[in-house]
């Protein structure tokens, strides 16, 4: 007795159609972004600031003023140091009241501090967040418990107060490095939590089981099966982290525990402009505009990146 199976006579190669229903996700993220004028503008501004930071010494040579150079001829000593004239041919964005230092040069060098700190902090938090998130999510159990408790502790900790305390207590020689470390220590749990959650769901997927069944080691599974599937999440988190850290650096500089003068930074310029806001509003407007536009650009770009890599909104 045999039990008949329907369709046993179907030739073996009749079902070879391609099912191209799922859209190709990763093909052209950058191209799609560039086609969107808003995203393109944001990207252009970010690239501009990055170039400014990278080529600061060259740019300053062209504009003619060093960021540390006092120009007594540009300020009125009798009036308490009010600048004589605003934007001009020699001082493109005016001068600092009181000292006569060139604002354009300080903005250019300030971009260095902001971008350096924000980008290194992002690299460090991403590294920590992804590694610990993967470990906690993949191994679970005791590893997960330890990492999760540490994350909860860090997230519940009053980070800003701690940063101010630590940064003002420690010697100010290497403030920039210290800033990166402190920001990263408190920043990584936010990414790690998301990575952990996604890893937990990814490791239940059958392709992970299939990889284990084909003899893959644990590190192979984590780094070649799970990590690539986290790509879009990490990309989005990174674009949102950078503006956050730019803001944090500016805020800490504003509070006097950031980048040490005379090294210029945008937050510090905003802080020192407070005393002059009624007489020289331009001194506040210039760094404020640069900072606001940069944060906005990163935020908008992050949002656009998310909608491009995640068309179904399944973040």
């Amino acid at each position: 007795m045999t039990i008949p199976t329907t369709g046993l006579t179907v030739p073996a190669d009749s079902g070879q159609e391609t099912a191209g229903t799922t859209p190709q996700l990763r093909a052209s993220v950058l191209r799609t972004l560039l086609r969107d004028p808003v995203a393109a503008a944001c990207l252009a501004y970010i690239v501009l600031v990055l170039m400014m930071a990278a080529f600061a010494p060259l740019i300053v040579k062209v504009s003619g003023w060093d960021p540390y150079e006092f120009d007594q001829s540009a300020i009125d000593a009798n009036m308490g140091g009010i600048p004589l004239g605003g934007f001009s041919g020699s001082h493109w964005l005016g001068v600092e009241p009181g000292t006569g230092r060139d604002i354009f040069a300080r903005i250019v060098y300030g971009a260095r501090a902001s971008m350096l700190i924000a980008i290194s902090a992002t690299v460090l938090t991403t590294l920590l967040g992804v590694v610990f998130g993967l470990l906690a999510g993949y191994f679970g159990g005791r590893t997960d418990m330890v990492i999760s408790r540490v994350m909860e502790f860090l997230m519940a900790f009053p980070a800003l107060i701690f940063m101010i305390a630590v940064l003002s207590a420690l010697p100010a020689d290497d403030r920039q490095y210290l800033l990166v470390v402190v920001i990263s220590v408190f920043g990584w749990p936010y990414l790690a939590r998301i990575v952990r959650g996604q890893t937990m769901s990814l490791k239940q997927r059958e392709f992970v089981e299939a990889a284990v069944a084909s003899g893959a080691s644990r590190s192979t599974v984590v780094f070649t099966e799970i990590l690539p599937n986290l790509r879009s999440t990490i990309l989005v988190m990174v674009t949102l982290a950078v503006p956050g850290y730019i803001g944090t650096e500016a805020g800490l500089s504003f509070l006097g525990v950031g980048v040490v003068p005379p090294t210029p930074s945008w937050g510090q310029m905003i802080a020192s402009s407070v005393n002059w806001y009624s007489v020289v509003p331009l001194y506040f407007v210039v760094p404020g505009t640069f900072l606001a536009l940069l944060v906005l650009s990163f935020m908008v770009l992050g949002d656009r990146v998310r909608s491009v890599v995640d068309p179904k909104g399944r973040s």
Binding site: I3, V10, S14, T18, G20, E206, V212, G215
Partner: protein, 271 residues
């Protein structure tokens, strides 16, 4: 001469034996069908062979694979056996493939992980050859396609190609046709039979579908509640079932040449 011999194989979760002291053997190049309803312990049996049981489960008894006692080997030794000498084909070919890599990469990586010193180029050639062997047209071109560009049946062919690439002695197919529609099922079964003939690999076919095993299997074990209720050659069991449960199972299958009546369910669920 046996390739794989299980004796008193038991899998326990807490106080429950989901597989309860079963014995079976697979001859080299032979096909063993394991049939049973949901919860009968079929899949746990295959995971026990592969050493992939969840950590909350314990395994007892012995599994002898070509002279190696699989319950005694270290994790490292087991990893070398998995995918190389024993390969597995899973139920759902969509979720068994990583959506982020081309199928060629996935086959090549599976191959390379067991053949140290094989160049990427050679692994790619092996991947194309394996895809050719499972009758994927234009294998040289399709090797660079992503899983979502394949249909369900084609994905299962890719999974079989991946299992084949290392020329294993034993292929365990756990419900390989359940996620596929009936016409494709037949093709995949034909393919499994063909692969077995060509490579001489033995096959353990796990299924709840009697029609599936009737086509392919030489020997059969029928499982229920973690126990073997009947063992024998496929022919024997289909023509003259001894256990009342096997009888009931066969009666529950609709027949195309039978008058239409109500289907008969098998009484009793998993313990």
């Amino acid at each position: 001469m046996t390739l794989l011999q299980a004796k008193g194989l038991t899998v326990t979760f807490g106080a429950t034996n989901v597989v309860d002291g079963i014995d079976f053997e697979v001859r080299p190049g032979g096909t063993l069908g394991i049939v049973g309803e949901s919860g009968s312990g079929k899949s746990m049996t295959s995971l026990a062979i592969m050493g992939l049981l969840p950590s909350s489960a314990t395994r007892a008894g012995s599994i002898d694979f070509a002279g190696t006692e699989l319950t005694k080997v270290t994790e490292r030794q087991m990893r070398a056996i998995r995918g190389d000498r024993i390969a597995m084909v899973f139920q759902d070919p969509l979720s068994s493939l990583n959506p982020y890599y081309t199928v060629g990469t996935q086959i090549a990586e599976a191959y390379r992980s067991h053949r140290s010193g094989v160049s990427r180029k050679a692994a790619r050639a092996a991947a194309i050859e394996a895809m050719d062997r499972v009758h994927i047209k234009d294998a040289g071109k399709r090797v660079d396609d992503y899983p979502h560009q394949f249909s369900g049946g084609m994905r299962q062919r890719v999974m079989i190609a991946m299992a084949l690439s290392t020329e294993p002695e034993l292929i365990i197919a756990d419900e390989p046709t359940t996620a596929l529609d009936v016409t494709v099922q037949a093709q995949i079964l034909d393919l499994l039979a063909e692969v077995r003939r060509d490579t001489g690999a033995a096959l353990i076919l796990i299924t709840h579908d009697l029609a599936v095993v009737s086509e392919v299997a030489d020997d059969l074990i029928v499982m229920r509640h973690g126990r073997v209720v009947e063992t024998g050659t496929a022919e024997q069991i289909f023509s003259d079932p001894q256990a009342p449960y096997t009888q009931a199972l066969l009666d529950a299958v609709p027949r195309i040449d039978d008058s239409i009546g109500d289907l008969r369910p098998v009484p009793g669920g998993p313990a």
